[in-house]
């Protein structure tokens, strides 16, 4: 119980730190004067001063920080600087399902891909197949996701759209699940695959290494001595041993993607998710919008981190009893 409370306290501290950091980035960075931006290029000093007063930029930074947090989390009525009256918090929550669907789809692909390639690579360690997989994984890791997305668009929307392979691909954009589940799924398959390529590369490598380490474990030797077949050995024993570290990695990456890590994919495939919203905020320099998306993203990561940590402790009773693993 004491451990739980101290974890909670640490989490709150990190959340507070992030909010201060993000606020400082947007409003206290030297040279970034939001009132000059809102007033527009070449505005007279009086106009800038009036804007500064109207938006409250002339008040002390801590006061502005507190008002901002109040608007974001308590009264939840932070409005955009660009589209006046547009509620930023609502916008973020409207975009969240799009990102969630995209990332969930991608997670399915990347877990499946990583399992297949990781197991194949580990089972035939050192073979030609293993080498091929490791090279492919490295290539996947090295690809900029936005470039891959453009290539996918080029192939599936234009060059080979008329062939049987890509005839089913709908035009770019997003169809909500409630409108038409089939087009929802169709529209998300290619973006999710694009997003998952780098993760398949990363996770198959991690899984392969972990599996090979697990194979050296005493429990595996015992299982082999007791006559467990190769299937049982790999799936029931090795995978269970090595799955834990991959799981904690997975939770972190999943949260990062939900929180806006999928920005580039969303932009390239014109999916109106949280990342795309951030991108819109960027092009119009809408500070409240960017601040809201970045903060929600960071909070996602911290909370997911804590959840994964708890899950990890539940699944692996060896840690958390005593020393904190240092």
């Amino acid at each position: 119980m004491k451990g739980f409370l101290s974890r909670l306290g640490q989490m709150l501290l990190v959340l507070f730190g992030i909010s201060v950091l993000v606020f400082a980035v947007f409003f206290a960075t030297p040279g970034s004067d939001p009132s000059a931006r809102i007033a527009g290029r070449g505005a007279s000093p009086e106009v800038v001063a009036r804007v500064r007063h109207a938006y409250g930029f002339d008040r002390a930074l801590p006061v502005r920080y507190l008002t901002m947090m109040d608007h974001l989390f308590i009264s939840r009525n932070l409005t955009s600087y660009v589209n006046h009256g547009q509620n930023v918090v609502e916008e973020v929550f409207d975009a969240a399902p799009v990102t969630l669907s995209l990332v969930a789809f991608a997670a399915i692909f990347w877990v499946a891909g990583a399992l297949v390639f990781g197991l194949l690579g580990a089972a035939w360690q050192g073979s030609l197949l293993d080498r091929l997989i490791s090279i492919l994984a490295l290539v996947g890791l090295s690809m900029p996701v936005f470039w891959l997305g453009e290539m996918v668009n080029l192939v599936s929307q234009s060059r080979f759209h008329e062939t049987w392979l890509f005839r089913w691909v709908p035009p770019l954009g997003y169809v909500p699940f409630t409108t038409d589940p089939v087009s929802w799924a169709k529209g998300l398959i290619l973006p999710a695959m694009t997003l998952s390529v780098a993760f398949i590369g990363l996770y198959s490598r991690v899984l392969r290494t972990d599996l090979l380490t697990a194979m050296q474990d005493d429990s595996l030797r015992t299982a082999r001595a007791k006559g467990a077949g190769p299937w049982r050995l790999w799936f029931a024993h090795a995978l269970r041993l090595s799955g834990l570290s991959a799981l904690s990695l997975f939770g972190l990456d999943f949260a990062q993607l939900l929180g806006g890590g999928a920005l580039l994919t969303e932009v390239v495939f014109a999916l109106p998710g949280v990342g795309h919203l951030t991108y819109q905020g960027l092009s119009t320099l809408d500070l409240p919008l960017i601040m809201a998306t970045v903060l929600y993203a960071a909070f996602f990561v911290v909370i997911a981190n804590a959840l994964i940590d708890g899950l990890y402790r539940l699944l692996d009773p060896r840690i958390g009893r005593g020393s904190h693993g240092q």
């Binding site: 993000v22 929180g259 890590g261």
Partner: protein, 328 residues
Amino acid sequence: MPERRVRAMSVSALWEFLLRRRSALCAACILCLLIMAALAAPLYAHVIGVDPMESNLAGSVMRNGTMQDVMQANDNPLHLGLSPIGPSWRWGAYALGADSQGRDVAARLLYGGRSSLLIAISAACLSLIAATSCGLIAGYCGGWVDLLISRLLDILWAVPVYLFAISLSVVTIGHDLSLGPFHLSADSLLLPIVIIALIYVPYAARPIRARTKSLSNAGFVLAARGLGASSWRIVLREILPLLAETVLVLAPLIMALCLLAESALSFLSLGVQAPAASWGSLIHDGEGLIYSRPVVAIAPGLAIIVTVLCLNALGDAAQAELRAKGQR
């Protein structure tokens, strides 16, 4: 002590490593070629006779014995709209075609490589220097200093890297910046370098801190302390040389990450500012032409992949080497 330091840092050890690992040698050669090509960009532009920064919409170029316009009418029935000239297999101007401003894509690719590689290398160095200082101080001092630095790094770590970089770029890039005596012009490359370096500090600082922590309890450090060496001496002359390995192994991986981050920022027009080019901004330029002249976007993407692939291969080999050394 001295011979250990020499072994960790020497050039001949690096050579031996490259010769032992063929993939590392291959990757290092390709990287050298890429850097040389990027350095030769002005030479190429001069020999070919094109200006990679100036738009050239009215220009024409000799191809297949005839003069052809750089911007050509589309071959639809009404000849509406213009497309830039496509690639050709012959050596000469516009070998990779032109972009929407009529500029030579091949020359811009080389110039883009200059800024991309420059940013990636300097950002990686800066990031590693900052991470080494943080990790060294946190790991050696322990106590509340360690707690403070670790918490700060945790906070940085929890903000998604690209979002953090994007936020910093939005508020700083695109207008002149004055920081006391320093003045940065809007198109300075220093800003993307510092921003990208900053976001990857926690990535490298964590392993460095862990290594410092284990080293500062090692026998030779205790011996040095017992002999009355000062903390400065212990940190700089006993621990730092042994950290060099950890840092060197991280270097290619961090550089790969920096290159990818730079290309993403430039793709969002938040990195290198026009008319200057980087591989990311070239992909952004090619986005509008993707269906008619895909090579404009394909070429810089391939350049990024090859570079990052080589860096990752180099990092992998170095890591394997370190592991093998640990087992020996």
